[in-house]
Amino acid sequence: MGRVNFQIWRGTATGGFQEYATEITEGMVVLDAVHQIQAESANDLACRWNCKAGKCGSCSAEVNGHPRLMCMTRMDEVLKETPPGRAVTLRPMQAFVPVRDLVADVSWNFEVKKRIKPFRPRQPDAADGTWRMAQSDVDRVQEFRKCIECFLCQNVCHVLRDHRKHDEFIGPRFLVYAAALEMHPLDVEDRTDELRKAHGIGYCNITKCCTKVCPEHITITDNAIIPLKERVVDRHYDPFGSLWRWFHSTDKASGGPSS
């Protein structure tokens, strides 16, 4: 494939693109090219990576403007989409504050997760303290549990990327996380109230950008977000359901039917 030119973002928010060239051989992925440039001509080029096999979700960046895992993006495919004579561009995820070069500050995501009510299992099924579950029930949530927390979905969500609603909306990753908990065969916690209010599920207008970029091919919008929206609607906008629940609630002192 020969020598390939790259435009790589250097510096913080006030940085700029710098040009590098490196030799690309068969089978190389974008992360290999970055490592090669790092070793050859830019020792201090900052990027995150770990497993190099699409399992840890560390090396998220924007390759030619597309949010991708650098370790799973092959150079031959990138070159096919790069117009002749143009350099391959690499920049950090844009929905987050840049740290340096290809590294973005994703710490917000870790804070968001803490705000979601944790797993709470039902009483064990067997005398020895264990549970019984059907494989089919397990399968239903496995899709969500495949998430590698690369935050590419957060990066493309316009609510976060363009409207910067980081304080009001938890983003697709954490809606998937909430869905995994809500649909967990053992979980008995109820998160619908928070989903509607603090987690801002209403902000999602199902444009499915998140689903398109998911490297684990999780059907984020259809399988996680929409069912959660339905759950919220059932709970909060169905007056008969609300009344029924209120009459059967053991804890009526805490207030009337939720609206």
Partner: protein, 603 residues
């Protein structure tokens, strides 16, 4: 101390993979304040890469299984150099740890009656590995992470420890820098748990990420702790070999557990040609019987592909060296063939091995449901490490604990697949509990500010130097040298050469320079990692030179046989009073009579 930000915790855990997270959770449950530092973001540690499963004698699939069989399997796999107390505790406590993980939300694949499903793996007599397809490690680390963040643990992400701080003989803290800004931080702690993983980055072909530079082993050694069994490095038999940029990436043993077979370029299942004596009785003679075994026939014996990793790796190396390898220097691993035996085989493979399917499709253009993979050995795991007390996981330095891959003892000369994830849980939990106890029983020590200053100055040196060599080049040369001379098969002359080379590399590393400033500068980080890599590489090379026999993962061309006398010792390294390396042959931890009997019963 003005220029150093200081954090104070009762227990400091270094490393946030499975062992570190489990230790932190347990320490917090013990009612002490806990800090957790990790070099990457939370949840990205190498545990995430574990594919096959987590070994625990739940006996859900085969009721003949029990902790005793698991114990005997672990000891046999480790060629009896294991710390038997650790192997015993591990086998007994692993099932409880799996259930505990389930109670925190982990979702394992199920049996028909709704219990946790278990799969076959090399060296395990019965199906024993609880698993989730081929992404068990992700399930485990995410469960621990998601549970851990609600336990009041202070997490310091992207933070690297460069030195342990001592007050007299005990550890009382650590000096670290945050990667983002490059600022130094002092962590004061009454007890410290090392959970930093292995040393795989010392080798060129490795399944390990940049993080596995032997930090914990090196920190412990320089703090005066004993390191043990450092000659035993596991080369996993099946890593990817093509294309070159993915060389070394792991191909799970689960492929063979699901019926995958190894073939050479002649199409021969060469594993049938060399079955070691201790395993002859339990290994099948025919492909037919092997297939019956992987499909659950309890009367069948396991196929030779599921022999221990050290042996399979050596057989693959032999095939390649004798000219029967695949085009890119590996052998063939074929799971696609099962279509001859079962209907809808491609769907079955994609369901059982989804990430393997994905990995080969995306990185190598290979559809594993239709064609064989090319695989070869890759550096995978460090059996050796910090010598610890089997019950408490405390090292020979008071207040310093170690758990998981960084600790030695459980696996002896060779680790069985699946015993790592259970190791992380069982001994992470123990280390956390005992560190908390230690912290409660001891006050804070004094931090020696001169030691802090010296360590900080040393750490800054690569940034201050100009015109020196690139740390990347030195790391690369080290990896190539270790691969060539301290690799899968060793011999005296090459090991001697390795020691000479290591001296030269040390001299080069001392003059390396890292351009740029302190903020998120991977060149500087690489320069600092070299200190650890060089320390552990030297100890491994010296240990390999010292052990004049072949046993488990340690194979000597010049001493090809196992020697009974060597079966009585572990090799222990520590820093001498003059700063030089002291090596000692330490008698094995004695095997109690009742455990001896367990081993005999399950021979």
């Amino acid at each position: 101390m003005a220029e150093f930000q200081t954090h104070e915790h009762d227990v400091l855990v270094i490393g946030a993979g499975g062992a570190g997270l489990r230790a932190a959770i347990e320490a917090a449950a013990g009612g002490v304040s806990v800090g957790l530092v990790c070099k990457s973001l939370l949840g990205k540690a190498h545990t995430v890469m574990a594919e096959g499963g987590l070994a625990a004698a739940l006996a859900n699939v085969d009721e003949r299984d029990s902790w005793k069989v698991h114990f005997a399997d672990t000891m046999r796999g480790g060629q009896y150099l294991n710390n038997p107390r650790m192997a015993e505790l591990h086998a007994q406590e692993a099932p409880g740890c799996v259930h505990e993980l389930e109670s925190w939300g982990a979702l394992f694949d199920r049996t028909r009656d709704g219990r946790i499903l278990q799969r076959n793996f090399g060296g395990h007599a019965y199906p024993r590995l609880a698993h989730v397809g081929d992404r068990t490690g992700l399930e485990m680390i995410r469960t621990l992470q998601d549970h851990g963040i609600h336990q009041g643990i202070d997490v310091h992400m992207e933070c690297t420890v460069v030195e342990l701080l001592k007050d007299g003989s005990r550890v009382v803290g650590a000096l670290a820098y945050d990667r983002e800004r490059g600022r130094f931080r002092i962590f004061r702690a009454k007890a410290i748990v090392l959970a930093t993983g292995g040393i795989g980055r010392a080798f060129k072909i490795t399944s390990n990420s940049w993080e596995y530079t032997g930090d914990g082993q090196s920190l412990a050694y320089h703090a005066g702790a004993d390191l043990m069994d450092m000659e035993f490095i596991q080369f996993h038999p099946t890593g990817m070999v093509w294309p070159p940029s993915v060389r070394g990436i792991l191909v799970t043993e689960g492929v063979r557990g699901e019926g995958g077979v190894l073939k050479n370029s002649l199409g021969e299942r060469f594993m049938f040609n060399d079955i070691p004596e201790p395993y002859r009785k339990s290994t099948s003679d025919t492909p037919e019987e092997g297939w019956r075994y992987v499909t659950g026939d309890k009367n069948a014996r396991r196929p030779p592909e599921l022999l221990t990793r050290d042996h399979v790796a050596r057989c693959i190396r032999r095939e390649v060296r004798e000219g029967r390898g695949s085009p890119h220097g590996g052998v063939y691993l074929d799971i696609a063939w099962i279509k001859e035996r079962i209907a809808n085989a491609p769907d079955h493979i994609r369901k059982k091995l989804p990430s393997m399917y994905h990995q080969f499709m995306q990185l190598a253009n290979i559809d594993i449901t239709a064609e064989p993979m090319e695989v070869g050995p890759t550096t995978h795991y460090t059996m050796g490490g910090v010598r610890v007390n089997g019950d408490t996981q405390m090292s020979t330095v008071p207040g310093l604990f170690a758990a998981g891959e960084v600790a030695a003892g459980l696996h002896g000369a060779n680790r069985l697949g699946g015993n790592s994830l259970s190791d992380l849980l069982v001994f992470g939990k123990r280390a956390g509990a005992h560190a908390a106890q230690y912290a409660k029983a001891h006050g804070s020590g004094a931090i020696d500010i001169h030691a802090v200053d010296t360590a900080a100055q040393k750490a800054l040196a690569p940034l201050d130097r100009t015109g020196g060599e690139s740390p990347y080049q030195i790391q690369q040369d080290l990896q190539e040298m270790m691969q060539a001379k301290v690799g899968i098969v060793r011999q005296e002359s090459e090991l001697q050469e390795a020691l000479v080379e290591l001296d030269k590399l040390k001299a080069r590393a001392a003059k390396a320079s890292a351009p740029g400033n302190r903020e998120y500068n991977p060149g500087w980080h690489t320069a600092l990692d070299l200190t650890c890599l060089l320390t552990v590489s030297e100890i491994s090379a010296r240990a390999a030179l010292e052990r004049k026999e072949s046993r488990g993962a340690h194979t000597r061309d010049d001493f090809p046989d196992k020697v009974a006398e060597w079966g009585k010792f572990n090799l222990v390294f520590r820093r001498g009073t003059d700063g030089g390396m002291v090596v000692e042959r330490t008698p094995l931890v004695p095997l109690r009579d009742e455990l001896k009997q367990v081993i005999e019963e399950h021979k």
